[in-house]
C-alpha cells in the first residue's frame, strides 16, 4: 500500500471515480484550471474535460441545486463547496431539498449526490475559513454526514459516498490534508458508512471523537499510557448515521467517556453521543460523560491567540483524559 496524505487520498479517489463511472462529474468553484484551492482536482480538467470538471459561478445554492437536478436525472454529481464556511447559502438546497427528495416522493425520485467541503481550523483560517458545520447538518434525516480522519478512510468513505443512493455531506478537515499521512489501499477501496473505528484500544476510559481530533486524541493517549492510563479512542468517521453499537460498546467497556470535538459544544455532535449513552448505558457508567469541545463563540479568530484558545489540542485532551481517569 502506498503512503499518502489525506489530500492525495481524496484526489486519487475522485480521479478513479471519474475514470470508472461516466455518471460521475465534479462541479464547484475553482475546480477547473486552478485544480481546486487545495489542488485536489489538479490536472483533472485536462484529463476529463470541461463537461465533467465544471467551474461554477460563485453561487453555492445553485452549485448544490444544479447538482441535485443532475442527480435526480441519473448522474452522480460531486459538488464542492470551497470552504465549509460558504455552505450556508446552500442550506435550503441541502436540508430542504436534497435530504427530502426520496421521502417527499415516496421513493419516486432519489438524490445520489456527494457534497464535499473542507472544514475545521488550526490553519489560520480566521472566522470564515475555519468553521465546523457538522452539527448543523447531522440533525437532518435523509442526509448522511461523514468526517473521515485518515487517508484510508477518506478514500473508503468517499467511494462509499459516491456509490450511495442518498445525499452525502463529505467533510474533509483542512488540517488533515497534508498533516495526516497513512497507507491507502489501492483499487476501489470502500469503508461502510455508519461504522466507527477504534483508533486505539484501551481500558481505562474512552474518547469518542472524529476528524482531526482523532489524531490529537491518539497523540494524547500515547502520552497517558506512560503513566499507566490506558485510553480507548473511538473515531466515529460517520456522524450520521452514527454507530450506536460502537459508542455503547466502548462506554460499557471503559465506563468513562470523554467526547472531543472541535465544533462548538452546545448542541454539538457530543450532545447526541451523550444522550445515546445516557439513554442506553447509564448503568454502565462510572463517571459523568464529559465533553471537550470548541467554545460557544461564533468562530475562531484570525489571531493565533484566538485559534489556540478555541481548538482542543493534544495537551488539553490529555488534561481532560487525566481528569476523567482520576474521577
Amino acid at each position: 500500500m502506498a503512503v499518502k496524505n489525506l489530500l492525495e487520498a481524496v484526489r486519487e479517489t475522485l480521479h478513479d471515480a471519474l475514470a470508472r463511472d461516466e455518471r460521475v462529474f465534479i462541479m464547484g468553484e475553482d475546480v477547473g484550471a486552478r485544480g481546486n484551492v487545495f489542488l485536489i482536482t489538479k490536472d483533472f480538467l485536462e484529463e476529463f474535460g470541461s463537461d465533467r470538471i465544471l467551474d461554477t459561478p460563485l453561487a453555492e445554492a445553485s452549485i448544490v441545486g444544479v447538482a441535485i437536478g443532475a442527480a435526480m436525472a441519473g448522474l452522480r454529481p460531486i459538488a464542492e463547496i470551497q470552504f465549509a464556511d460558504f455552505i450556508y447559502p446552500a442550506f435550503n438546497q441541502i436540508v430542504g431539498e436534497a435530504a427530502k427528495i426520496r421521502y417527499r416522493s415516496a421513493g419516486g425520485n432519489t438524490c445520489p449526490l456527494v457534497i464535499r467541503t473542507p472544514y475545521g481550523g488550526g490553519v489560520g483560517g480566521a472566522l470564515s475559513h475555519s468553521v465546523s458545520i457538522e452539527a448543523l447538518f447531522y440533525h437532518v434525516p435523509g442526509l448522511k454526514v461523514l468526517a473521515p480522519s485518515t487517508p484510508a478512510d477518506a478514500k473508503g468513505l468517499l467511494n462509499a459516498a459516491i456509490e450511495d443512493d442518498d445525499p452525502v455531506l463529505f467533510l474533509e478537515h483542512k488540517k488533515t490534508y497534508r498533516l495526516i499521512k497513512g497507507e491507502v489501499p489501492s483499487g476501489n477501496h470502500t469503508v461502510p458508512i455508519g461504522k466507527a473505528d477504534i483508533a486505539r484500544a484501551g481500558r481505562d476510559l474512552s474518547v469518542i471523537t472524529y476528524g482531526l481530533m482523532r489524531h490529537f486524541a491518539v497523540q494524547a493517549a500515547e502520552e497517558l499510557i506512560k503513566d499507566g492510563i490506558d485510553v480507548e479512542v473511538l473515531d466515529l468517521r460517520s456522524i450520521r448515521p452514527m454507530d450506536r453499537d460502537a459508542i455503547l460498546t466502548t462506554a460499557t467497556k471503559t465506563r468513562k467517556v470523554l467526547i472531543v470535538h472541535e465544533d462548538n459544544k452546545f448542541g454539538g455532535v457530543g450532545a447526541e453521543i451523550s444522550a445515546i449513552i445516557a439513554e442506553e448505558a447509564l448503568f454502565e457508567l462510572d463517571a459523568p460523560v464529559r465533553r471537550l469541545c470548541g467554545p460557544d463563540v461564533p468562530a475562531m479568530g484570525y489571531s493565533k491567540v484566538y485559534e489556540d484558545a478555541f481548538m482542543p489540542s493534544p495537551e488539553r485532551i490529555a488534561a481532560a483524559m487525566r481528569d476523567l481517569a482520576a474521577f
Binding site: 441535485i68 415516496a106 419516486g108
Partner: protein, 338 residues
C-alpha cells in the same frame, strides 16, 4: 362535431383540430378538478387545496408544446392543468387531494399538486419557492452531458423571480446554454403581494437579458399564443440554442389556496373584471368560431369531465389511508437510520 366556421386561418405547426379539442378537454377537466378540491375542502373532507384557475391556457399549451416521453417538466404547485395534460390522471389527482397511501406523488406526504411521476417525466418539487428551478437546470445539464434530445420545462410564478436561487438558476443555464425553458406564469400576485411590490421591472421577461437569455412574453390566457411561444422556446433549446425565459401573463381567478381570502387584498370589481379573462370560455368560443367545436360536443366534453372527476372522487375517497408505520419509509434507501 363540426359547425360552419366564422373564422378561417392556418393552425400553428404541431396543432390539429383533434389536439385543440384535447387541449380544451384538459382545460375543462382541470376546472372540474380544481372546483372539486375547493368543494372537498369546504365539506371538511380534505384540509387544503390550491387553484390554477386563470392559468389553464398557458399550462395546457406548455404541456402540448413539449415532446411526451422525451422532455421533462419540473412544474410548481399551481400546475394542475399542466400535470393533467402531461399524463396525470384525475384519479391520481384526487388521491393526492385525499392524501391516500396510494397517492403516487408522495403517498400522502406533500400538499396537493406536488407532482412526482418519473415514468411520465414529471420531477418532484417541494413547497419552497424557486428551489426547484436549479434542479431543472441540473436535469438539463445532465441531458446535455449525455447528449440527449430532452428539453426541461420548469414553471413558477412571478414571485419566484425574487428568490436568489431563481437568478442563480438562470445564470447557470445561460452560461452553459442548457436545453431548458423557464416558464413564468405571471398571475400578478404572490399570495397577496402584487407584482409592483415584487419587482421594479415591468416584465419578468426583462430579467432575461441579465443572463444572456431571450425573454419573451405571451398572453397566458390564450392557449394558441402560449403554445406558439413555448414551442419556439422548446425547439430552440432542443436545437442547442440554449434557454429561454417565457413570461405568460395570466391572472389568478381565485384566492391563493383554500386558506386564503383574496378579498383582503383585491377589490370585488377587480375580481369581477378578471373573470372576463377566464381562458376556458374564451377558448371554447375560439374553437366554435373556427368550427372545431359545437355546442353539443362542448356539452358532451363537459359531461365527460364531470363524470370522470366524480368517479375519481368516489374511488379515491375509498382508498386506504397511510398507516403510522408509513411515516418511516423512504427516509434513506436502506430505510430509516439514526
Amino acid at each position: 362535431m363540426k359547425s360552419e366556421p366564422s373564422v378561417r386561418e392556418t393552425l400553428p405547426e404541431g396543432l390539429t383540430p383533434e389536439r385543440l379539442r384535447d387541449m380544451y378537454y384538459f382545460m375543462i377537466l382541470t376546472r372540474v378538478c380544481d372546483d372539486r378540491g375547493f368543494a372537498l375542502n369546504r365539506q371538511g373532507k380534505i384540509p387544503f387545496a390550491a387553484t390554477c384557475q386563470g392559468h389553464e391556457a398557458i399550462q395546457v399549451a406548455a404541456a402540448f408544446a413539449l415532446r411526451r416521453g422525451t422532455d421533462w417538466i419540473v412544474p410548481y404547485y399551481r400546475d394542475t392543468c399542466m400535470a393533467l395534460s402531461f399524463g396525470v390522471t384525475p384519479r391520481e389527482q384526487l388521491m393526492c387531494l385525499f392524501a391516500r397511501k396510494g397517492d403516487i406523488f408522495s403517498s400522502g406526504r406533500q400538499f396537493p399538486n406536488h407532482y412526482s411521476v418519473p415514468d411520465r417525466h414529471i420531477a418532484s418539487i417541494s413547497s419552497i419557492i424557486a428551489a426547484h428551478v436549479t434542479h431543472a437546470v441540473g436535469m438539463a445539464l445532465a441531458h446535455k452531458m449525455r447528449k440527449e434530445e430532452s428539453v426541461v420545462l420548469t414553471s413558477f410564478g412571478e414571485g419566484s423571480t425574487s428568490e436568489g436561487e431563481w437568478h442563480e438558476a438562470l445564470n447557470f443555464a445561460g452560461i452553459h446554454k442548457l436545453p431548458i425553458v423557464f416558464l413564468c406564469e405571471n398571475n400578478e400576485y404572490a399570495i397577496s403581494v402584487p407584482q409592483s411590490m415584487q419587482m421594479a421591472v415591468k416584465n419578468v421577461a426583462d430579467r432575461a437579458v441579465a443572463y444572456g437569455l431571450p425573454g419573451v412574453i405571451c398572453d397566458g390566457t390564450d392557449p394558441i399564443a402560449s403554445y406558439v411561444t413555448v414551442r419556439e422556446a422548446v425547439e430552440r433549446a432542443r436545437a442547442g440554442g440554449g434557454a429561454t425565459l417565457v413570461e405568460a401573463k395570466c391572472y389568478r381567478a381565485m384566492s391563493h389556496t383554500t386558506d386564503d381570502n383574496q378579498l383582503t387584498y383585491r377589490t370585488p370589481d377587480e375580481i369581477e373584471a378578471a373573470k372576463k379573462r377566464d381562458p376556458v370560455p374564451r377558448f371554447e368560443a375560439w374553437l366554435a368560431d373556427r368550427g372545431y367545436l359545437d355546442e353539443r360536443s362542448a356539452a358532451e366534453l363537459k359531461a365527460r369531465a364531470l363524470a370522470e372527476v366524480n368517479e375519481a372522487t368516489d374511488w379515491a375517497e375509498l382508498q386506504p389511508l397511510p398507516t403510522p408505520e408509513d411515516l418511516y419509509t423512504h427516509v434513506y434507501a436502506e430505510g430509516p437510520l439514526s
